[in-house]
Subunit: 768 residues, 2 copies
């Protein structure tokens, strides 16, 4: 843990400057607008440890695979978002001294991420070695309204001197990716130009040939008047700038307004990039910083109106959940169908900024309930479009006949991951793909999705499970051998219960969807059957046979499902018996020791129970939770949230709260000393799940919402917003009552503690 | 398969030049003297595909580890023999044309490895683009008598012209290792000098700082007279040479005699290297090529006197076994205690030229029986010296208290391997270490080895197994979880039968040796117990408990031992059902597919049965062989030999012969299209085992030799030499009789088909 931030319900606050925290703060104070993101590096020069990162969704480099020993079928590359042109830079030089916080005494440092209005703010007094002191106040944001626009307001005040100050706003494309296998450059310079008050830089990504054109335009203002500038123009291959010398008087503020337009060839024709960039840049410049920021704030207020969670009486919990929601909304908005959610979003380079199963298993419900159907559907369509590649991927592991194996990691549908025990064996991800379709339809009621897209994917997934299962004559059952479950502290195991459950469920659900589509749209069904070459009778028969004869490991005596075959052969210890010096295990134990131990990295059996809890009585859930939770070390960020939800269901208040804080404050308190690598964006959805499905007990059954709220003793109340079909609801839970406000005009039936209430349009019910 | 060599009982012969085979021939025609080795690249320039390799045992570079994802405990480097200064080079230039077989028409090309006398010979006619023709005849060897000396006789005859020829003998240290993780240079230039007729080059290996000083001295001879030379001297950082211009007449031979002395700082003080090199070089020069070669031939004749295997009536089988024996003797002689046997010896770079479990499991019996006790003991002492490192290595996987885990790969006792499923889990190698001690003592009767060295190692090994086993309350037995057996087509399995058997046997054997040492030398026992901190009663009790309660997977119905838990859950297919286009599996199947299949890479259960066959009745062996062999794809070079031995024992003549050829001609016929990477040196010992233990049925029981020979129908007879304690025996097996000749003076009792015969000194028995 590394707690250095100040608690506040709406802001992330760092008081006082400590260079050792800079990389962590760069992650935590990141700004983004769903299309791109920017770590919270400084505008002025900084010679201390830093990772100046600027990432644009979908603009990637295929970094050549690095492995010790090649295995047949490994992918050729790992897709990684390119660290593109930095647009924030403003160098400040006073005489021979450059402003650089690593070389100055820093006083009154204050960095604030204003989550309510969506901007980053910083102020400090820097004392140069010469004794000169300047006060700086900066604000910046990436607009969620004009999604190519970023803007900086940078104000500098000499405190104990008057002098000429050289101000250099610049663009710099000499960026290297930190997480590169062989130190490759990910982009080449393509074009540059610099004029008075304005400059442009275009890069071309290596191999993928994306273009990114970045333009900047600036003004210098003193006493509310724009200073007439006569800049030195600089245009190198990877650097364009203006250097402006401005006379600054002691105690008087000089403000630089810098606007950037960042355009990628993903959205514009390459030949139009520069012209469009200039146009959008000029529009932003003329609109001006304050107007842009006002629009930004207004747009964020609207976002909060349907995604906020309020917690009264626990500011750490309050700050954390807003931080999680804010970062999720900064990462993905649902507006760009080719984008998805990287485990670190745009806040760091680890995991390449590309897509994992986290999206389907954790993030989807958040966007469903806070951004709405369309945003969530975009995530599903992302996979639908990748279906042909997933079919190739199944062939890669020897499963032919239009079965699909979705990749572990991807940017374009192609597999990028390269550890055999994960790439080839962590096939449960395919289950999450099917479950996401089910989850989406259950929540939205949009059964037409099944007709248009869902069934085609489900058929390929069902085929995969049927072909991947094999028949054991010893067990007289279908088994699934050689897999890695969600608990990656086991590799190459047989009959991972979670995997087998998802396989079996997918086979069942696909049959059900086939019946549905056949019934509602026989013609479309016929088209799908033709396209997918479905051998209806034979295949469905085979699926049923596998499903009905699937093997599920369990222990009758303990009354639990077994994580995998032979799990109980392991020496049974509890996580609490581990010496703290051994944690996290993967930094202290050799891999074999981890594998042969009983310790669980993240929810596995419990993840399955969470997905299908309606199939299990409370006693069964309790027995499994009581058995597995004490063996779980939660060394995956995706673990605590599932435990929080189940603990809440079981009435384990303390455990639920512990797990909630662990997921919600994972990055803010830097539990695992790794936030400098980026924030855990996808697991942030789990924090929201812990509140809404955990404490709020929200479920969807038969097209209606059900709640079974509980409340943490030290909370006065908590409330969350939910978009459900035609309604926007505000659910407020206090110790005394549950209050459901319907902010829409349509009435809605809602179940609370298994009793149905009708909430009128704009109405409110209060359940004591 | 790629068969392009000519059959011959004593020679390896390549007729006609095909550049596509050059790298393969470079491996196959390698020369070596146990201390160093040299691939069969050309003396003259060659611009075609080639790997000019010169390796010296023990002179290694720690190549930084390359992995995709780091696991805690991985070693920092992989030790690789440095490709050192090339000493064979002689450039030939005629006018503007350089002799280069890739650029000439080549006629009458003949390359011969004379295994009987230990040299490499080559002759050809090269036709230049200009039409000029030269005839070349070269011979070279690395002396097994003067073990720092190499010599080349290079004769060139202009066939259709007379002209001045520029001859450049040189040394070149600008060598790169092909098998390098990051393309590092493995050595730096250290010193060079060139004089008339002589030059020196010293390199320093990077990080390890070994020095290798190479000197060359040469003479040019025409009409038996040394030509007076006036060379141009060349001395660059990594290249020293003399260029001599010699007038050559049509039809007349010019001979270059080039001598090299290659000295490593392993054997000499660095400051004396150059002086000693010059001294040895001058001695060789004065001795002259023909004398050196005569000594070489004589020494090889002696080697063959106690290691030859004769096969009459099957020249392919004959050539193959001699090739195997020759390469083994070129790789390891037992004279250098710090050296061992790399899987590719000095014939290629793969596996780094360093030590694997192959030595103990396969090579030891060969050297025991053909080089004698001392050479074999050297191999054991190699591991004894590494015991402290092996104890550290066990700590690395969390097993404390002076347990030892020998490394998977090593040059100095430190682990070099970096795949978790092998590095951390292929722990059966520890069993081979114990078995080698047992095997050595059984063969030599040198029980004092146990007192002096063996017990100390065994105690650490027994501790390892006791600590690595864990108790399963479900099975009520000790289990060994998460291992990889010899069959590397299974990873992270539970209760690999082979591993469990070796663990249990080691615990047993260690107890037995403790009792022995206590009895014969209580004082020494006390010393060992003190040094190893042995808690005699407690520890031995614990060992017994584990041994007596060890779990061994088996299938009662099939009457077989199970390779591992749940092996029979797999879909059971036979190797013959595989489509040839799928072979080898690891080049066509993804790893998960290999792992979940029943196919076996190399002997696993059968390896265990081979080690401990006296514990199993013939029916049990047969059942297991009949079950496992058809599932085995033999994609390890170490597989066929064990099958040949067991097939011979079971009277499966065809299978035994098939497996013998597969192991013995693996490289000569290039079964797996990989001989260009180097020859499979360690599995060559398996070819010898297939003859001696397989066809000859040789075993040692109760300090005496037993034979149960069989003969392949198309063989007239076969014979092999065996050093056994004080005797050198020649065992000849024909269809009619078994003839045992005792070439020593002491009489010896020998068992043939379970009947004992006394063979008098210099005597012979003939069993019809």
């Amino acid at each position: 843990m590394n707690k250095y931030l100040t608690l506040h319900p709406w802001h992330i606050i760092e008081e006082g400057f400590n260079g050792a925290n800079q990389k962590s703060s760069e992650s935590l104070f990141s700004i983004g607008n769903g299309r791109m993101g920017q770590r919270a590096s400084f505008e002025e020069s900084y010679s201390g440890e830093t990772l100046l990162g600027n990432y644009i969704g979908g603009v990637y480099y295929p970094d050549p695979t690095k492995v010790g020993y090649w295995k047949h079928g490994y992918p050729a590359y790992f897709a990684k978002l390119v660290n593109t042109t930095s647009w924030i830079g403003i160098d400040i030089q006073i005489g021979k001294e450059k402003l650089d916080l690593a070389k100055c005494k820093v006083h009154d440092f204050l960095r604030t991420l204003n989550m309510q209005e969506g901007y980053l703010e910083r102020s400090f007094i820097a004392e140069f070695p010469s004794g000169k002191q300047v006060k700086v106040h900066s604000k910046r944001f990436l607009s969620i309204v004009d999604r190519e626009i970023g803007a900086v307001r940078y104000a500098i005040t000499p405190l104990n001197f008057s002098s000429e100050i050289a101000i250099t706003p610049y663009l710099d494309s000499n960026m290297k990716n930190d997480w590169a296998n062989y130190g490759d450059r990910f982009s080449d310079p393509y074009y540059r130009e610099a004029h008075k008050g304005e400059a442009y830089l275009t890069i071309e990504t290596c191999k993928t040939n994306f273009h990114v054109c970045t333009g900047m335009k600036f003004a210098v203002v003193q006493n509310d008047k724009q200073v007439v500038i006569n800049p030195e123009l600089i245009a190198h291959e990877t650097y364009v700038a203006n250097t402006v010398k401005v006379q600054c008087l002691e105690g008087e503020e000089t403000v630089i307004y810098k606007y950037a337009a960042i355009l990628a060839s993903l959205y514009y024709a390459k030949e139009e990039l520069l012209e469009t960039c200039a146009k959008l840049l000029h529009q932003a410049f003329h609109k001006g910083f304050e107007s842009l920021l006002a629009e930004q704030a207004a747009a964020w207020i609207v976002k909060w109106e349907h995604s906020d969670v309020t917690i009264e009486g626990d500011v750490a919990a309050q700050q954390a959940i807003r931080f999680n929601i804010f970062q999720l909304n900064q990462t993905y908005t649902g507006q760009d169908p080719e984008l998805n959610i990287g485990p670190k979003g745009y806040t760091g380079e680890k995991y390449g900024g590309v897509t994992y199963w986290d999206t389907e298993a954790y993030c989807l419900p958040f966007y469903l309930a806070t951004s709405g159907e369309e945003a969530a559907k975009s995530l599903l369509l992302y996979r639908y479009k990748h279906l042909p590649k997933a079919i190739e991927n199944a062939e890669n592991i020897g499963l032919y006949g239009r079965a699909a194996l979705y990749p572990m990691v991807t940017v374009n549908g192609e597999e990028c991951h390269n550890e055999w025990e994960i790439t080839f064996e962590e096939i449960h991800r395919n289950g999450a793909m099917a479950y996401a379709i089910y989850n989406y339809v259950r929540y939205t009621g949009d059964k037409n999705y099944l007709v248009e897209y869902g069934l085609e994917v489900l058929i390929a997934l069902a085929r995969f499970w049927q072909k991947r299962a094999s028949f054991s004559t010893v067990k007289n059952k279908y088994v699934i051998l050689g897999v890695t479950g969600p608990n990656e502290y086991e590799n190459n195991v047989d009959n991972n219960w979670y995997t087998n459950i998802l396989a079996s469920w997918t086979l069942d659900y696909t049959q059900e969807v086939i019946s549905y589509v056949k019934q509602v749209n026989p013609e479309k069904f016929h088209q799908i059957a033709t396209k997918t070459k479905l051998q209806e009778n034979d295949e469905i028969l085979l699926w049923r046979k596998v499903r009905e004869n699937m093997y599920f490991p369990k222990d009758e005596k303990l009354g639990i499902f077994l994580q995998q075959d032979n799990y109980l052969d392991k020496e049974q210890r509890l996580a609490k018996e581990l010496d703290p010096s051994e944690r996290p295990l993967n930094q202290h134990w050799s891999w074999d020791r981890i594998l042969r131990s009983c310790f669980i990295k993240q929810a596995d059996v419990l993840q399955g129970i969470y997905f299908f809890e309606e199939n299990y009585d409370l006693e069964t859930i309790k027995r499994n939770f009581d058995f597995y939770e004490p063996r779980t070390v939660h060394e995956s960020s995706l673990s605590p949230c599932v435990h929080a939800i189940l603990a809440a269901k079981l009435g384990y208040e303390d455990k639920a709260y512990e797990m909630y804080l662990r997921t919600a404050r994972l990055d803010l308190d830097d539990y695992n000393h790794e936030v400098k690598e980026g924030c855990h964006i996808t697991s942030m959805a789990g924090s929201w799940l812990a509140i809404v499905q955990g404490f709020g007990g929200m479920r969807v059954r038969n097209n209606e919402l059900h709640f079974k709220p509980m409340i943490i003793p030290n909370w006065q109340f908590y409330a969350f917003k939910i978009i459900f079909r035609d309604n926007l609801l505000n659910i407020k839970v206090s110790k005394e009552c549950v209050e459901i406000a319907n902010e829409s005009t349509a009435p809605i039936g809602v179940w609370v503690y298994d009793k149905r209430y009708l909430v009128e349009g704009k109405g409110l019910v209060n359940i004591m």
